[in-house]
Symmetry: C2
Subunit: 123 residues, 2 copies
Amino acid sequence: MSATNTEVTCDVREVLDRIGDRWTLPVIVELFQGPRRFRQLERGVEGISQRMLTLTLRKMERDGLVERTVYPTVPAQVEYELTPTGRSLSEVLQALAGWAAEHREVVIASRARWREQHPDTRS
Amino acid sequence: MSATNTEVTCDVREVLDRIGDRWTLPVIVELFQGPRRFRQLERGVEGISQRMLTLTLRKMERDGLVERTVYPTVPAQVEYELTPTGRSLSEVLQALAGWAAEHREVVIASRARWREQHPDTRS
């Protein structure tokens, strides 16, 4: 690695702060499948309210992760889509999800072994 | 994607919870460079206390991310090393750090543009 430990750590933490809120992640995952209208997102992201979806999309638009297109129909149709930046972020996040899915068993087994070997610790 | 939105979201959140504490990330980055003794880690990870380094290493060992080897020298020498699981996690995290470093300018520029276009919002 050419970057220092502190640099790498800060870079990762920045992304975690950005996507660590309650709703950004599921909205990214939904939009990764293709452009969506507001109602479609509302249906696709389980449990999100209109207000939180509005705020989340606005933050993502502000950061350049999402593009909002208004079509001049009557009534106007609004579509949300990942930008190339948003798309590349979601690819990295898929890798993270893949790692978690792939290694869940190993981590669970390791914890069980640890508890056996350290019966008097609580963690 | 074959996994559902909720599955992918949960998988990513699990990893974020695991690495989101104050010290796991810099310890992973340090160990990515090779096996380290306790004192070396203490020096390499800026600002960490002995107690927090001990706790962090124990949690990583419990989860199967780190292996602890005791060499029968006098005095005994203890070395910490990433397991293959820990190593594969740090590769995914490097990708995340790479994304952040690569897209920082784009995100900053997008925010500046947003503020210009929305002078009356606070975000």
